[in-house]
Symmetry: C2
Subunit: 161 residues, 2 copies
DNA sequence: CAAAATTAAATTGCACGCAATATAATTTTG
DNA sequence: CAAAATTATATTGCGTGCAATTTAATTTTG
């Protein structure tokens, strides 16, 4: 016998449809992340930045002179990812790395003039990306908020284990 | 003459807000993708699968015996990513790789018994992920549709260049 | 205060992801 | 039909991500 509508809505059924790539939020997110990456690439290439490096720059434009740990918390990345990335950002002249005098364990990351100047270009990049998304500002804001909530839920549940 | 302080501050702060990590959809998507990845890991590890490998399995559960190219189109991945990944999936016993007799350029990927059997477990994984997301099925469906639209827009604009 | 525990970065090893190139098979074309 | 163009897959090199380990500095504690 058929389930009623309410059950159908709140239960993931064990049929092929449920496993279809096209129905999975995780795949939609995976695809959107790659699409964004590919859209950013031609905009960032002229500045010698990769997308994750650009995220670090965003963090530093907000708050200069942060520790590796602070940047890692902002981006949810660990030193295994950040240490080599920051060395490349230093090699390309965008940031400086300096041991903290007060606590020699820490490394402080600060913007060079070149890194600071790049911020002006970032507004143009933002415009381009906004156009490419083809969404209204309201839609973008709504999506962003929903995804932030989702990410929080996923993190909370992992922490609770 | 210089603008007064109030004007200067408001103008800069507006711009800064636009570049804030917390306001950027691309970063929300980047973070959600990583959060999903981390949530999937403990669920997939026991089966010896990574998340991208799991996506390939989803594609094959929908449609067995696909070419590398077809899988690449389904997942937006090229042979540079898929060739080694598929070799690892073959090494772990989940799929078989076989040259197509009709067209020796193509390689057909098909499920082994082990790979097919894993589909049963996938429904349980799906349940776990659904729970971890903390969203209603309606919310999940809505988000998925919006992200698919966004991804389409980004792809279309890249193709138009 | 010295030993133990904790903390911050860096390093190593492995698996993507992608650009660029290489190789081999098939199709197009002149 | 043979040369040229196209197509499918594989390979190489580089930059993430992340788990696990290492090293050095600081904090805790017995």
């Amino acid at each position: 016998m058929m389930k009623n509508d309410r059950d159908a809505v709140e239960t993931i059924e064990q049929d092929d449809g449920a496993l279809a790539l096209g129905q999975q939020l995780c795949f939609a997110i995976y695809s959107a992340a790659h699409a964004f990456n590919r859209t950013y690439k031609p905009l960032l290439d002229p500045h010698g930045l990769t997308y994750p490096q650009y995220l670090v720059m965003l963090a530093l434009w907000q708050d200069d002179n942060q520790t590796v740990k602070a940047i890692g918390e902002a981006l949810s990345l660990d030193s295994g990812t950040l240490s080599p990335l920051l060395k490349r950002l230093e090699a390309s002249g965008h940031v400086r790395r300096k041991r903290d005098r007060k606590d020699e364990r820490q490394v402080l990351i600060s913007l060079t003039d070149k890194g600071r100047d790049l911020k002006k270009e970032a507004f143009g990049i933002l415009q381009e990306i906004g156009k490419a998304s083809g969404c209204s500002l309201d839609t973008l804001r709504g999506l962003t908020a929903e995804l932030q909530g989702l990410t929080e839920n996923l993190k909370r549940l992992r922490a609770a284990e």
